[in-house]
Every structure is written in C-alpha cells, then in structure tokens.
Point group: C2
Chain length 490, copies 2
C-alpha cells in the first residue's frame, strides 16, 4: 500500500540543477557508479542513493543542500565511507553529498598549533603534513590511512591514543558549517573555548544530522620526545584487567593501552606472523608510554612492575621505531586477521567502566557459548572501549540476525554495568534501537529538540541516531505502524 | 509609558505556592534580605529580585521552575554569587533560585575517578573530599574557596591549572538537569563520551539559560607525584612573553603559567609582602610544573634555560609546599591587592592567541594612556587569557561609563587578533553587547535556535549572553525601541 501510494520523484530537473551548481563531473547518476555508495563500512545495510554529488567548496556544499531543500529530498554526507555504524547509509530517494573532492589542507599554523582542513582530507594526512616540524594530530582510528576528517567529526572517532589525548571532539577548535537549510555559519574559533553555547561540541558526533562541516580547525600536538611500547602477556584475563586498573590507579596515563585475547593473538600470528605475541597467552596488554625520556623510563619500570605483580609471565619493551611498529603490527591487523578465521565477522563497539572489565569479559564468554559463535576480543582496555568481534558466516540464512541479536546483548550488558552503547563508531543506522536502553524517553526527546531546530524538515541524514518505531521492531502493534506510515505519507 | 502600562504581578499566590513546595524557610521575601541578591560579583549592575527561593533537592528545583512557568515569571539560578559577568543578575520581577542549600557531595567513586555533587557544593570542597586519597578536582578559579560548582558549570569557569587540564567543560561527565519547563532529564553519563548529541557540552557555559543542573558528575584526577613552582623575573614584557611561547613550543605544558606586570607586583608586595617578587621587574612569570619527580626536574631545568635565554634576570624555584604557597601568594592576592591601589577596579577577561601577547600588552598600554586610567595586568599567560584590571574611582560620576568603554576597547582588540571576548568569566549581562564583534548574525542566530528550543518562553535567565537592541545602546533609532517594547508588552 505504502509503496503504491508513494510519489515518484522526477529527478531530471534536480540533476540539471546539481549539474549547473557543481558541474557535470560533480554529479554521479548511473546505476553502476552508484553501487559503490550503497553502504559504508557496515555492509549489512544497503540502500542505493538516487544521486551522488561531489562538491569542491563550501559554497558548492551549500548550493547542493539548497537544491535538496527545494525538492524536499533527503541528503546524507559521506567522507571515505569507512564508518562502522552505517552513519553514511543512504535513505531511499536520497542524495549523497560526498566530500572526496574536498581534500585540501587549507592552513597550517604551527605557532598556534592548529591546522584548517577540508572535510575530505584523510586523517593520516594531517599528521604527515606537520610531522616534519615535530607535530601530530592525535585521534587515530584504525582506518586512519583511509578515513576522512569529516567522517571523524561526524562519528566523534577515537583510536588507540584517545586514552591519554581524548577523542575527536577534544581536538576540534572550530567549524565552518553548512546547516540543513543551506546557510553557512561558523562555530567555535581559533582558540579552545569560545563564549556562547558550545555548538562545536554538539556538532562533533552528530553524525551528519545537523549539517555538513566544510572547514575544520584542528588542534595539533607536539610529538613526544620519547615513545616506548611494552608488551605483557598473561595467563588470565583477570590479571591483565587488574593490571590496567592498577596502572591508571597509580596515576599513569599511557598513550594507549590495548588488550587482545587468545583468539585474536592466534589470528594475527596466523596472518601477519609478528612472532612477538605468545600463542599460549590468555591475554596480552600492549602499552604505549610517551613523554620525556626520563618520564618514559620511569613509567616503563612502574608499568612492568605492576604487570609482574599481577602475574604477567613476560614483559617485552621496544624503544626504537622499528621494534615498536613490530609490536603494534598484530594489533593493527587484528580486524583483518579475524576475517581469516571465518567468512564474516561483526564488530561491536561498547564502553564499560574499566573496573568492570573482568566481569564483562566473562559475560561475553557466556553469551558466546549461549549463541554458539566464537567471539574475539581486541580493545582499548585503558578507556574500557570494547570491540568484540563475532565470527560467523553470512551466507547461511538467518545467521546475521542471530549475530545482531548477540551484538545487542553485549550492548545491553555494557549499559547494565554503567557504560555506553558506542565508544567511537557512532550510533548511525545500526544502534539506534539501543538508544532507549541507555537514555530515558525525556533524555532522547531533549536531544531531538536540537535535531528538530537545526533540521526541521528532517532532510539531513534521516533515520540515524534516534529510534523510530518502524525500524526498531517495537511496533508489533499495528496501530503504531499505521500512525507512523501516516506521518510519512502526508 | 512602558512602566505605567506594565502589569503588576500579584506575588501573594506565588509565594504561597513556593512555601508549599519548599517550606517557609525556603522562601526569602523581605526587602532587607533580598538586598544581598541584587548583584553578583559584577557589582555595577543591580536589580533586586522579587523573591529568592532555596530548594534542597532536584524535585524542589523542578517544582520551583514549574511555579515560575505557571505564573510566567523569569527565574535566575544563582550559586555563590561570585561570578564576574553578571550571569546571576536578577531581572525585574524575577525569582532567584539559589542553590546554597544544595551542598551535598552525593557520591565519590575513586576507582572510576569521579564524584557526583549538588550544584551548591563549593569548588574547593571537591578536592578536600578526595585529596586524602591522592586525588583532586582540576578547575580552580581564583574564587575557589567560595564559588560553587553549579556556578562554575554555568560560566564554564577556568583557573590557573586550565592550561594543562582544561576548563570546567573538560571535567564534567554528566548532569541531571531541570529544564526551563521543569522537566528533569539526564545528559552525559558516568563515562567520558556518550552517544547522541553532546548536551552536557552545550549546557556547560550556557549561563543558566538552558535550565539548572542539580546533580553534577565530575571527573577527578590523580594528584601529581611532584610539583615545582618557578618564578622568573624580566625587565621587559616581550622577554616574558617570548619565554611563554618558547616553553609551549618546546612541547612543555606546565600545570600553570601566569604573568604579572610591574603594577601588580608592587600592589601585592605592598599588601601581602611576599618578599619574593622583585619590585623593579617589568614582568614576572610564575610557572607550575607537575608530574613525575624526574619529569619535573627535567622540565624545571628546560624552563629555566628558556627564560634565561630570553633575558630573565633571576630564577627562583620551590619544591616544598610552604615555599610554593609563598610564591603563589602574591598571584592569588593580586585582585584584592589591586583594590588597595584605587577605590575601585574593573576586571576584564579576554583571550588572545599566545603569539600576540607582546603586541596586545603594548596596545593595552596605549589604551591606558589614551583613557587616562592605570591598568594592572595579571593573567593566565599560557593560554593567552588576559585579566587587565582597570583602576578607577566609581564615586566620580561618569567614570564607570568611561572605564566600561575602555574595557570594551580591550575586548575588541582581543577579537581583532583572533581571540575571544571571554576566557572564563562568561558573557552574562556584562558582555553581551560585544557578541556581535565576535560572531556574525547567522552564528548568533544559530546559538539562539538552541536557546529558543530549550527555553521557548524565555523565562530562564533572560537578558544574558545574547545582545538585545535596548540594552546594547544600538537602538538610538526610536523605531527599534518601540518594536522591542511592543514585543515585551504583549
């Protein structure tokens, strides 16, 4: 019924407008070319957009958004499309505004430790551009050699070094934005705290629902004088988790502190053969210590002692770049290696208070047995950001649904112990159904006030972050479905 | 005309409602008692509130806000009333909701490094409550022994240690809020980053215009192993400023880095006689270095070398608590000491990029000469947060207006060099006229969308942050005044 009644959009005049505003090269419209844009890193959700447009400037982004407004078609911003929560998933009859032609680093100001970049700039390019002068950009998602700064802003991305240095929002000073109605505004500025409401903070992590960032002022940091990587191996998860807690309790905040379990260790040794990770260890900790040379030396010693006290079997440390990279190699390859263990894997992203690590890992193990799927654990232990990898075979009908259910159980577990349903991947299309597990109706309504006021027509990335009855399976009740359909139709 | 037409509010039924909700002791209504609440730390603006109410719980705050809504009377939240921008200035016929009976520390969780407090809790009490276990709360405004956490949230307060540790917003994990319509919601949580829009970030620094925080989850930090204070004295401001830049450029972020000029030095030596600050120095730098003992030792050496290279005459350092406090004593007493130099002083709060320090201080000197007022400079040099103290005599008619004009010139100078009109005191009633110097009309409008959606009736702290034609002297034009009066009347 719904489909039959749906108004057919006449795309011809819309395409003409886009071509006039962005040039013919700025509009992708053939079915074949559009396939690429059906999904982002969350490949289990797919929807082909009606059009893809490729602006080069703030003004072109504003023009594209205005055309979408004129024809009331939804638009979704997309960077490199590496997001894992479906934040850049197109909706039906939508226009994808892709920033891959906006890849200029507009300004580097070393004296004031900042850089202004376009949203399509690749994360690692920022560090590359300033490393010669001894600086770097701290947030480092695993996908950093391909993901875009704009996408990082949308999802408030994290990474290994976020334990000490914070996630993306802590490194964004100001933004030039195209709002959902096409207006161009500036929020924040060139200094860390500007007066008035912190709209920069609201925008970072808003997953494209409040507009599109077209110029981003990033904070860059001075590189540490010295870096050391320490690998400790344990025969129990509890001992590794206790070491993490004790390191933080001792007042040490390492640059990064990662944990891998036995399944992950063996997966990476099978695939990339670091020959550094003991295959019989129940868990390993990888700790990066940065700072002054003397500071690193003292902290290395203290961390080693804490790990040994908690029962670590061996401690390996690396100061030179080559050995450090070797120690990190397995961790960096962990997701890819999991892909070799089974035809498919589902990566979850949840946060728990650090003190709950042993309990939560035990519960995940119980869930793994209950559902009958192997789960590999690779995660940012220091900040309690878990990434369980559920191994399965997507070609078997019904498996994905079961795995998603298991993933949901893990998220509920995170919330139960006082944590969160997302650490760094965002909510997107994937996790919106779990928002009510974490927030009350009033809390969610308050957030949606903000969405409503910025995005009153609902054209900017619809169907993301906030649960809707239809998509969350809550509306078994026919009355609800009817009401929702009604709202959409008229 | 306006006054004659104004509707008289019948306060009797309103008082009855408040007394029923908060008890008779929870309502202050006599003229004599209300005098205390006429102004906050910005004493040049005064307005007696109609009533003061003193809730003890979240529910009582919500009840008070709902009564205000029922009778459409404005309400203003107030903590200790130490704010310097008039953020807690009552408006006419308003109710002040004072949090001074909400002074409980509700929970301390050392393992997860957080504390939950009521808004009336005094800033320094948080550190006192956790210091025995080796922790502290980082934001430390000068008024920390009297100002409240709720007020700190409202103004996003800073302090000496914010160079390294960030301002209030970096230390708030979650909030229980009473929204302007009396609804109770939770934003943020017990972990650093929660999904959805960052409403915690928007609320911190919103100066009471988006509601009232009634439970605040603060991040507490582990105390540093070692602290050292270094005093360097200079014969030129340029040399002191160059040292600040060079220290940061060397990759050192001291716990705090303060500068005082010759006028301030002599004022504090006259009043508190530290006998540490050389009276003939043009400027002194006070640098606090914290961290591991070895780290502090190395950084002390490096900072001393940088200062000497830039022409410092002497370097004094203190490691023990007593001598450290002695070195800080003058800085902490600087504002009070300025009060001894002249009958009154006006303290300004602006931010500039660190690299502009020498130029801006020279320009302030020119403005001082042009207007004929002495200006003492005491400020957070590390983060470019200036606090020029303009010395004057408020009993001389017309002086305050001239001083405010001079203060405005200093703010415009800050904006001109890429800085901000407020570093840590907020905008309040005092600086709203300068917001258009810093933000475009579209930028300000976007912020006001947020205000509008949270505070549609405009009852929560009206007349703060955003400029209005009437109060900003922009409406020399009679038509404008008429229009504004009309909006207010009907």
């Amino acid at each position: 019924m719904l489909t039959q009644n749906k108004k057919q959009i006449d795309w011809k005049p819309i395409i003409k407008k886009f071509e006039a505003a962005l040039g013919k090269n700025g509009v992708v419209k053939t079915r074949e070319e559009l396939i690429t844009y059906e999904c982002d890193g969350l490949t289990s959700y797919r929807q082909r957009p009606a059009l893809v447009v490729l602006p080069r400037t703030t003004e072109q982004v504003a023009a594209a958004v205005k055309i979408c407004n004129q024809y009331s078609v939804p638009f979704i911003a997309r960077g490199s499309g590496t997001g894992l929560s479906g934040g850049a998933l197109p909706s039906e009859d939508s226009v994808l505004i892709v920033t891959s032609l906006m890849r200029q680093i507009l300004k580097i100001d070393l004296e004031n430790q900042q850089a202004i970049v376009q949203p399509g700039v690749i994360n690692s390019w920022v560090t590359q551009a300033v490393s010669g002068a001894g600086f770097y950009y701290a947030p480092d998602p695993s996908s950093q050699i391909i993901c875009s700064i704009g996408g990082n802003i949308a999802e408030n991305s994290g990474g290994v070094h976020c334990l000490k240095y914070g996630v993306t929002t802590n490194h964004v000073l100001g933004l030039k934005l195209v709002l959902p109605d096409g207006e161009i505004v500036d929020v924040g500025g060139q200094i860390p705290e500007t007066p008035g409401y912190d709209l920069t903070g609201v925008f970072v992590g808003s997953e494209g629902t409040l507009g599109i960032a077209t110029e981003i002022t990033l904070r860059i940091l001075k590189s540490a004088e010295s870096i050391c990587v320490l690998l400790a191996d344990f025969t129990s998860v509890e001992a590794a988790a206790a070491s993490v807690s004790d390191i933080i309790s001792a007042g040490i905040i390492p640059g990064g502190m990662e944990m891998m379990d036995n399944i992950s260790i063996n997966a990476v040794e099978d695939v990339v053969a670091t020959n550094c990770y003991p295959r019989d260890a129940t868990a390993i900790l990888l700790v990066e210590i940065d700072g002054l040379e003397v500071e690193v030396a003292v902290n290395k010693q203290r961390i080693a002692e804490i790990c040994l006290k908690n029962g670590a079997r061996n401690i390996t440390t690396a100061n030179d770049l080559e050995t450090r990279l070797k120690l990190w190699k397995g961790r960096k390859a962990a997701f890819a290696a999991a892909g070799h263990l089974s035809p498919d894997y589902y990566v979850q992203d949840g946060v728990i208070p650090r003190t709950q690590l042993p309990y939560v890992l035990q519960e995940i193990e119980s869930l793994s047995q209950k559902y009958g799927y192997t789960i590999a654990n690779v995660f940012h232990a220091g900040d309690g950001n878990l990434h369980p990898l559920i191994l399965f075979d997507n070609s078997v009908s019904g498996e994905l649904e079961k795995v998603e259910e298991l993933g949901g159980e893990i998220l509920k577990l995170c919330v139960k112990v006082g944590g969160s349903i997302s650490g760094e991947h965002g909510i997107g299309a994937d996790k919106k159904c779990y928002m009510p597990d974490m927030f009350s109706e009033a809390d969610l309504e308050t957030m949606q006030w903000v969405r409503q006021v910025f995005n009153p027509q609902g054209l900017a990335n619809p169907g993301k972050i906030f649960p809707t009855p239809r998509t969350c399976g809550e509306a078994a009740n026919a009355a609800n479905i009817k009401q929702f359909a009604g709202v959409e139709k008229f």
